[in-house]
Symmetry: C2
Subunit: 159 residues, 2 copies
């Protein structure tokens, strides 16, 4: 899927750093910051996209603004054969499920779910999870408060 036969240099790292910080930074600004021609930056950004190094650009929306105040993590024990992930794929189809991780240990999956409230969570568990065959059991962890939530990667410096 991702074709990573590609070596990133310092300039790429700087671009990634800027983009990771603000994905709407325009080419001209990046070019100015790096002291290069906008066309050169454009070229690199396109390549980063094509090589699947930059996967996507997304806006982080305030969950409260959409009344999605409840965040939970659910451990799901499933009877999937290791590496097949049938249950995992079904879980991934649920819109409220933001993340699905196949985890080590007998739990099977760890999923991250955002709902309006507790009722929404119950709903989801009953209607969505409940309909997936192969789920043996679930264990839910409720988030009281989120202190940090980013997906920023640590980008290498110098070298």
């Amino acid at each position: 899927m991702a074709k990573l036969e590609y070596t990133l240099d310092q300039i790429d790292y700087q671009i990634l750093r800027i983009m990771q910080d603000n994905a709407r930074t325009n080419n001209a600004d990046i070019a100015r910051e790096l002291g290069m021609a906008p066309s050169a930056i454009l070229e690199r950004v396109k390549k980063l996209e094509q090589k699947d190094i930059i996967l996507q650009y997304n806006a982080k929306i305030n969950p409260d603004a959409l009344d999605q105040k409840m965040l939970s993590f659910i451990f799901i024990k499933a009877q999937d054969i290791i590496g097949v992930q049938k249950v995992g794929l079904l879980l991934a189809e649920i819109p409220e499920v933001q993340e699905v991780h196949d985890i080590a240990g007998d739990d099977g999956y760890l999923i991250k779910v955002r709902t309006n409230d507790a009722a929404g969570l119950v709903d989801l568990m009953r209607n969505s999870l409940g309909k997936i065959e192969g789920i043996i059991s679930t264990r839910t962890t409720i988030v009281l408060e989120t202190v940090k939530e980013e997906q920023k990667l640590v980008i290498p410096t110098k070298k």
Copy 2:
């Protein structure tokens, strides 16, 4: 912090939907898609930003491209007084820690950590977590494979 005395309408939702899908969509394109003047869209986007509805724009970078192939979740039992989160704030300062959630139950925190490999994780636990006072114990869950990882919210339709 966030001032949410603001009611979103269908147009706002559409903008959010577009932005959530591709944060680099330009104003002109959004305007065309919604059949409105670019200036009107600009106005709305600015407001969405100012009202802390759109929190930030970020590029999702392929972790593999930066050799961050290891993802783990760590439950941290801490002796924080409920609601004070001293440990939580210290955890949030660690760059490899992408998320810190204060969770219900006696576990305390659930954090999401990205490192190069197992050695990097051990390093982090020893050097970073190890230096935080107030951590009573940790329980680590290793991610074998991620099936889905987004932060897209479910945006209401019609009404």
